[in-house]
Symmetry: C2
Subunit: 682 residues, 2 copies
């Protein structure tokens, strides 16, 4: 780890070493210069920036758990040529070669997985169900994402989708047969849910499975082109088995969507009889994942291959289920998929951290324009506008890191009672964080200028690699609507029951509505009470407005479902309000555990910046009068002030992400040397 | 052209043919189906959507000029295998193969240029200086952009940057020697302005040129690594010559930035002595352009290679210039580069049109979720939320098409008197339109779900290809600040002169401030007077606030330059207000030339949507009280209403873009067939 050490002695010696490396480089320069004025030189930001809090302590707060596992896996990747180490500017960077064709990227991704497998990275991922095992697995997934999203998605499909389906939809017979072999990659799994014609609307899929009691087999069939399985990660090249989602017909009546295990390739990689597979083709990112399409031509599988945790079919063809209501049965099927959204929320923030670390480091070494002719050019991050572009995103990213840590804990300790709340929070965070990431990446890319376009610099490239997150595992817009619909249902039911809210985070609505002071001074804006109050006020008011709007539409004769569709704008505003309040709460909780001191002070600045930027960006506050015009002006002023207060901590804050230099990029370090003639391969 | 014909008889027969093709396809289906319910079928939107205005007439309004040239070049590209025609879903699409490596993409881009050259596409681009010739050139550039941004950028560098520099910075000796050869690609030009250390701040470049009167030569030198020329399109592989921007030292004193011609490769493609070239490497898009880096090791060029329209050096080494002030000299150098911003603004809207045509066509054929169990799934564009996502962007794009047409006219008819205004408008439009495009692409990509990620579907891929536009030829944020600084200067000078505003579009500020009605009904919101008034009100108020804010900072002891930096938020708000008002004005002008009728009615809807969405999205209206809370609510309601009013015209509106089917993508047409097993290459 290159991040500076916490003890001040260490810090001094570390700075001295940076300085001496820097001076050494300078003596190599033998340029002919016609003028006395010196050309641009790279100066490491560590030489000029201060570290006013303990970066290692902050890193522990952010990473939260499994620190050694993190460092171990980072190290494993840095040690292998498979991870494409490249020398640039006197440093080694690992990062996939994105100038490779789709076919090459897929092969090297598979090889990387085999390497990690051999080193024991996946040990226990499906067989160790302890809390420690779960945390280790989630940590290692996160670290893989730092290197490459294709790699983590391909691993995720195998372990979380294929493996998770067997764990959660299957029973002992499936666990015994598949989990160990999956963990060892003796089988390679994929997950065939989405079809050409149906993505977010899983209930509408058209694949059909019937039962043949003469042979004791299920028969899976793709009845038409729109029913072909689509986007199936692993299907195009590597997977040997798949989970198939299908409508199950028993005696001619549809029992709804069920999941089956089918083999699609033999151990030599040949496609099985009655299976047809085609490629999804080249994508704008994630080309290391071999997405494919599958057609089933009356494929016969043993009865035992039905994943029967929720429902089963007896040998003589009787349909058996504890859950009689098909809606509830369907919900039970999808509930375990929450892990996908937890991973996605985490992965998106991982990407935001990388891009901010790179863009902020660059902005501390790149200069442009002088304010007056005699003065040197100004560092990008010393422009108030540049601070305004990057520092609020940094504060949001910090807030979301705490939220991801919270979500992870809720996930690994979930119970049937917390499932509903987990579903809502994970949906809201998945949508909000992946959008935040896309926006952060775009801003960071532009903030790096043309350098942001070079794939070696990662920032711009991450856009293509992570774009998929906004629509897979539930389209973000659909998820936002679902969050608000769930809150609405809770609201209506609480009113009917005349009981207080409980369990979904709406407890704050049990008390009286918070009152916001007429005049917001800086110290009020920075107070915990105001911050929570204004977020709660917005949320409860929007929920009420949403409920009113829907019932108004219903009063005009619209069906409830259609009324909700018509109120989509309030629904989206509400889901945002809900999510941002939840995030803030996790920030408070992470902050309060901490003792007073410089670290807590900076956390306070970040938290206030998070609140202020939410107030500034969501027009709801003005639109519905939660903030007066004068108070909105005070908020804007506060954002500016916070930018200049956070500016001195910018380097420490991105150093605290603890991302090893090798996983950042050349422009984050000595980009003059990295671009020098001597570094060109001749 | 596949767009429907205007006469109703033609339209009937055309629909009949669509229908019969459709039915024919259906009979080919021989799927085994276990249920009576039919699987998803593709239905062409032309069968269900109405055409209520004359699409061909709308297309003429949008394309404005050189219709035959457009169709001719589209046809040329469709006819050649070099443009990678591919069959999909019974249609042929042309589009680069983005799964090719950078090296392959560069070579095929060069071959495409040679093909177009052979067909006479570039005839007159530099030798025909008539108005017709200019319009033809700009039209053809636009058409090339529809196919591929790499192709248009590579052509643009050669003709507009290299060729333009010779035209505008050079004099007769340069014109005679280079223009014809450039037009015939006997020389291949590039344009070395940007350096590793300096992009937007051109005045800070570090390349140094001196004059040797003994030999009558200039000596160009790269004194240090940060002075290496960077991002030079064409330099890595193909260019033989370059324009070099450099500080010119005469007798030890710096005369500022000047432009020179230097040869970098011989006719066999070997790099010339004292020239070093390296590659910029793989990028997130535009890999068909061979961006390179150049070092000059005391390269000697003849004295005549100074582009001497602004300044010259006599054989004995005297520096001669009519313009004594170095600032003015520098401005004179850069003024002709406005063509770049005009092209970029046009190209970005071109990209928005493609993506909207694809996303809207897809949303008229793709269904998801049923509102009630018995009913079929709902077309994406029948969701109010989906309308809200796409139709305001469509209206903005229409408005910007008219603005681009206006900008083009101002550009080709420019005079020294209009140069300043042209500079400001082109800067504002370049920034605003390229941001609009990136946002439109992202929304369209998400609106297409996973299909938006496949490069063959274009929408997502255009993001990587066009991303460069937000930062090249002037970083957007820098341009926005420049616009506001220019407006501020005009404001201050008008106050000092006590004369009315003239020439920069601020004339509306000469009259009294408009008064907005207290209660805005739908009909007021749709009135021309209100629409222009509210935009003018915002602009004049923001300009005044910006001026006040800057002088307040100055009063607190800040330098003027720093005061402007501190007021960056008002500066950006103002530049947006200026740009949106200018765009609206061009919309009014395009609309008023038109006679009453269905087409004009739809234009009216689009124009009102444009205004409403600007009102909705810019928080300034609430923040500074141009709109009351009640009126902002009325605006939001109006946006919803306009969405449903524009919905029936969605297909006609994107058909009016006149983009041949071949330049759209498989999901814009029969995507079920395009994905069928029979279409897979076995």
């Amino acid at each position: 780890m290159a991040s500076p050490s916490s003890s001040s002695i260490d810090q001094v010696s570390w700075r001295a070493s940076v300085l001496s490396r820097h001076l050494q480089q300078s003596t190599d320069n033998s340029f002919q210069s016609l003028q006395s004025s010196v050309c641009l030189q790279y100066s490491p930001p560590e030489l000029s920036e201060k570290f006013e809090f303990d970066v290692r302590e902050m890193r522990r707060l952010l990473d939260d758990h499994n620190f050694e596992d993190r460092d171990w896996l980072m190290g494993l990747m840095m040690q292998s040529n498979l991870f494409s180490p490249r020398n640039s500017g006197g440093k080694v960077f690992v990062s996939p070669d994105y100038n490779q064709s789709m076919e090459q990227q897929r092969e090297v991704t598979m090889k990387r997985i085999e390497y990690l497998l051999d080193r024991g990275v996946f040990k226990g991922w499906l067989t160790d169900r302890t809390l420690e095992g779960e945390m280790r697995k989630l940590t290692l997934m996160d670290v893989v994402t730092v290197f490459d999203h294709s790699l983590s998605v391909k691993i995720g499909v195998h372990f979380f989708l294929w493996g998770g389906a067997i764990q959660f939809f299957g029973t002992k017979r499936h666990h015994d047969k598949w989990l160990k072999d999956t963990e060892d990659y003796k089988v390679k799994g994929c997950f065939a849910m989405t079809e050409l014609g149906h993505g977010s609307n899983v209930r509408g899929i058209e694949t059909i499975t019937t039962y043949d009691s003469n042979t004791g087999e299920f028969v899976i069939n793709t009845p038409c082109e729109s029913a072909q399985k689509y986007w199936i990660g692993g299907a195009a090249n590597h997977a040997t088995h798949t989970i198939v989602f299908s409508q199950l017909y028993i005696n001619g009546s549809n029992q709804g969507v069920h999941a089956f295990i089918a083999q699609i390739r033999d151990l030599d990689g040949n496609i099985c009889p009655n299976i047809r597979i085609a490629d999804c083709g080249h994508k704008i990112g994630l080309n290391g994942v071999d997405n494919g399409r599958i057609w089933f031509d009356n494929v016969r599988i043993p009865r035992e291959n039905l994943l029967n945790s929720v429902a089963d079919v007896s040998p003589d063809g009787q349909y058996l289920s504890e859950i009689k209501d098909p809606d509830q049965r369907f919900a039970a099927f999808l509930a375990p998929l929450t892990s996908g959204r937890v991973n996605i929320a985490g992965g998106s923030i991982c990407s935001s951290k990388i891009s901010l670390a790179i863009a902020i480091r660059y902005s501390l070494t790149r200069r442009a324009f002088s304010v007056s002719a005699s003065r040197p050019e100004v560092l990008l991050l010393d422009y108030p506008s540049h601070q305004r572009r990057l520092l609020p995103l940094l504060a949001k990213t910090y807030a979301m890191v705490f939220a991801v840590n919270y979500l992870t804990k809720v996930y690994v300790t979930r119970t049937p009672k917390t499932n509903k709340s987990l579903h809502i929070v994970s949906s809201a965070f998945k949508a909000m964080f992946t959008w935040h990431n896309m926006r952060t990446l775009q801003e960071c890319r532009e903030a790096c200028g043309g350098q942001g376009l070079k794939t070696e610099n990662r920032v711009g490239n991450l856009k293509g690699e992570f774009d998929v997150q906004t629509t897979f595992e539930g389209d973000n817009n659909v998820l936002m609507q679902q969050v608000s619909k769930a809150l609405l249902a809770e609201y209506i039911s609480a009113q009917k029951r005349k009981k207080p809210f409980e369990g979904l985070g709406l407890e704050h609505m049990n008390g009286p509505s918070p009152v916001i002071l007429a005049q917001l001074t800086s110290s009020v804006l920075r107070s915990t009470k105001f911050q929570m109050d204004i977020f709660c006020l917005r949320e409860r008011d929007l929920l009420k407005r949403f409920a009113d709007d829907v019932s108004q539409h219903q009063a005009q004769g619209e069906s409830k479902a259609h009324a909700v569709l018509l109120s989509f704008q309030l629904a989206e505003d509400l889901a945002r309000a809900y999510s941002e309040r939840m995030v803030l709460q996790t920030f408070f909780e992470s902050e309060t555990c901490h003792s007073e001191g410089p670290l807590k002070n900076v956390l306070g600045l970040l938290k206030t910046m998070y609140v202020m930027i939410c107030l500034e960006e969501d027009a709801s506050f003005l639109r519905y009068g939660y903030l007066s015009i004068e108070n909105a002006a005070a908020v804007r002023k506060e954002v500016m002030k916070l930018c200049s207060e956070l500016r001195p901590h910018a380097l420490s804050l991105v150093s605290s992400f603890g991302i090893p230099d090798a996983f950042l990029s050349p422009i984050a370090f000595n980009w003059v040397e990295a671009n020098s003639w001597s570094s060109v391969h001749h």
